[in-house]
């Protein structure tokens, strides 16, 4: 099920939360688990088996690890069993066809692809359960004794299908006991609504623009149009993804959980290094803590450091989708990060701020073109169009037409990609007396209008994609 849909918003969401608040605390985890399983089985009932299997494996390995706690070798066996099984399941369902098509391409063989559909959220929950078992191995957390409780953690619907990747250590205490506070619930609702508006009113709209531009013929795409397309996709992905995180964090708050922030205005980064501190934080810290640092990070000389960067960014790319363009996208960032670290990082810091923003934004937007287009031929063509190498003109009236039609959405997206909204809220909360009432009053009228507008867009659903089926 998708958060930004009529069935979720008007049936699942109210019924789930009314029941959740109505029952005594000892039942709350049960309700949460029940609704999470309904949520997961809504689109693809079969794959619930994989979710149960993956969590079962980690739960059992966790218990066994706890029982044979003192012997490091035995613990390692359980760790390996868990990690190998998790990664095999992920590899089979997500990467089998990718591996087959790559083998076919290299060796000219004719192996038939399996054509499996990707279990929703598998990349997210596999990483969650692996973080549990690795943390347990390291001794930073206690093993969970109740399988339903462990399943509740992994399958918790707000974060199940599109992150953030919540670690057991962060929510373990709240799984046992949490305080559901009226103020927190209200904040959660506001956060959820913010996410809904971002997804429906901005991400879907700029996404429709990208859809339109990317399906134009090469002869119809001027350089300006091509860049407008690339910018639209960048904004779509950011707003879509961060909206999902907003909705997840908001619903988490409504349930009494506190998930970590997943985005921190990544499009305002001043360098590639900075961008990855701000973009999909739960994923980059996961790779940092479970791959990069165990490999030695940057503490074992330049050669090992470069190897570690290469490994992490190859995997980061691959995580985003079973296609070579995602790997290329990861490697692209790996190289740029290495260059910032060893070549121009210090010089970059001396540049004026606007230039550093421009530098980072150029890399980000260009990078998302690699991310957006899975077909190699089309990708090369589009890059050609971006730099006017296809004999296309610099700008045309079509580009202006798009700007005119999508101007409001694009402007709103660009403004909200900067930390303007928190600034407005802070300032308006400081306002006293009549002005304060007026500003807040306008704010809440606007909120209600935006909610009705979002509903209107959902009822008339022309374009409402779920981008994470690849992840």
């Amino acid at each position: 099920m998708v958060f930004s849909s009529i069935p979720f918003l008007f049936f699942f969401f109210p019924i789930c939360f009314i029941l959740y608040y109505a029952v005594p605390f000892s039942w709350k985890n049960g309700i949460l688990l029940l609704f999470s399983l309904i949520f997961y089985t809504w689109g693809e009932p079969r794959y619930i088996v994989i979710l149960l299997f993956a969590t079962g494996v980690d739960y059992i390995n966790g218990r066994l690890m706890e029982r044979y706690g003192t012997d490091k070798k035995i613990r390692t066996v359980f760790l390996c069993s868990s990690v190998v099984i998790n990664l095999s399941v992920l590899a089979f369902f997500k990467y089998a066809d990718f591996i087959i098509s790559t083998i076919n391409m290299i060796f000219g063989t004719q192996i038939k692809p399996l054509g499996l559909s990707l279990p929703v959220g598998i990349s997210f929950y596999t990483f969650q359960t692996m973080s549990y078992i690795i943390d347990l191995y390291r001794g930073t957390i206690q093993a969970e004794h109740s399988y339903p409780r462990y399943l509740t953690y992994v399958s918790m619907f707000p974060q199940l299908v599109a992150g953030p990747i919540v670690r057991f250590a962060d929510v373990q205490k709240e799984i046992y006991a949490r305080h559901i506070d009226g103020e927190e619930v209200r904040r959660g609702i506001l956060r959820f609504m913010m996410g809904l508006f971002k997804k429906v009113l901005i991400a879907n709209q700029v996404g429709a623009l990208w859809e339109e531009i990317s399906s134009l013929g090469a002869g119809q795409t001027s350089v300006a149009t091509a860049w407008l397309g690339a910018l639209s996709f960048t904004l779509q992905l950011y707003f879509d993804f961060s909206a999902y995180s907003d909705m997840a964090i908001g619903m988490g708050q409504m349930l009494g959980f506190h998930f970590n922030e997943n985005f921190n205005y990544p499009l305002t980064a001043v360098s590639v290094t900075d961008f990855w501190r701000r973009w999909h934080i739960s994923l980059s810290t996961w790779f940092r803590d479970y791959v990069y640092i165990p490999l030695g990070g940057n503490r074992r000389g330049i050669a090992k450091h470069l190897r570690n960067i290469a490994v992490v960014w190859f995997l980061t790319g691959l995580w985003h989708g079973a296609s070579w363009n995602f790997v290329l996208w990861g490697v692209y960032y790996g190289i740029l990060l290495a260059l910032e670290k060893y070549v121009w990082g210090i010089r970059l810091e001396k540049l004026p701020g606007w230039l550093r923003h421009a530098y980072a934004l150029f890399i980000i937007v260009f990078g998302f073109v690699i991310f957006a287009i899975t077909d190699a031929g089309k990708l090369i063509t589009y890059i050609g169009l971006l730099f006017g190498l296809k004999g296309n003109c610099a700008a045309d009236s079509r580009c202006l037409w798009y700007l005119y039609n999508y101007g409001v959405e694009l402007t709103a997206a660009c403004v909200l990609a900067c930390p303007v909204y928190p600034w407005i809220r802070r300032k308006s909360e400081q306002l006293k007396g009549g002005v304060g009432i007026l500003v807040s009053g306008i704010g809440y009228m606007m909120g209600a209008a935006l909610l009705l507008l979002s509903v209107a867009y959902l009822v008339n659903d022309t374009y409402n994609p779920f981008l994470y089926f690849r992840f």
Partner: protein
Amino acid sequence: MSIQDKIRKITVILYCVIILGLTVLFFVFPKEEFSQNENRYLAKFPELSRETYMSGEYMDALSEWFSDHFPMRDWFMGYKTAFEIATGRREIGGVYIAKDDYLIEGYATPVNTQRICDTFRKFYEKTDKSTVDTNLMLIPTAVTIYRDKLPALAPKADQTATAKEIYDRTGIPAIDCSGKLYEAAPSGQLYYRTDHHWTTFGAYQGYVAYCEAKDLIPVPLEDFSSQKVTEEFAGTLYSKVNDYHHVKDDIVVYTHPDDRLTVTYTDTGEVTDSLYNMEYLAEKDKYSLFLNNIHTLVEIENANAQSEDVLVLIKDSYANSMVPFLAHHYRKIYVFDTRYYKQGPSDFLAKHSEVTDVLILYNMNTLDNDSGIRGIY
């Protein structure tokens, strides 16, 4: 608690009221079966079975049911459109919000031209050219003839080049009415403002072009008796855009006083003396009044026709409003809807030696996706 906090609390309550209110309304409101505005049947509540559940079909159908029966659905769609137009959107769902209150459907890049040419050519090759005179008319739509009315900066799509390609590749003698349409543009309304069809005035220009190509003498428009049958026509484009304040269209129908018609709908067995079914005026889709909407095969006989010629018409709905003019010149017209006529017009021609003329008439905008093309040959 500060005032800001109180207002924030009110906002949250308002959100909850909206969500819960609409949920309650959903269950309280009666469910419609048919949407007049969209001219389609709304989704039915799906039946649960093991297969549909496991394949996910059941949930998809349920989602569609939720969204089709959402309370105040039409209001929400209108709200969305009003907002989009206010933010500068001049194209909604492939329809341009054009000048002079016109809604003009955009022309998508055709993808089936090759297949369409092959079908037309095969049909034409099979006709006996010594006894039957075949012509092809591809009618340009408003996006071409009224391109000056398109919103500023709107990308121009070229129907003319596609039409020329089809004319050339099929080899069927072409009747191009675009010149007549351009000529007549200043003196009347060629296309509906809210619908993708041409008006009867537009259809008359097509008829004149046809007559000139066939050496027939077109009847002056004044010689027909005209009747304005509605001022409240809100067509398909109106439903796509959902701008409820948009102006509506008139429909004017023409009849020749001398014609004595017998119209037989072979699929239903109904026989009338008129080419119009005014019962459709009570419905949303008023264009259906021409030739009584959709029929597999309609036979039109005119006891007072100008000639003994017999015409076979293979066409889309654009022809429905041109037939009243053509009827004056033919003793009998066979009107095929090849979406439903499965035996193939070629066989029909082989069995009916009285046929003297064949006209294939399609509009350029829906040609590419017309499911009736396959039925021609």
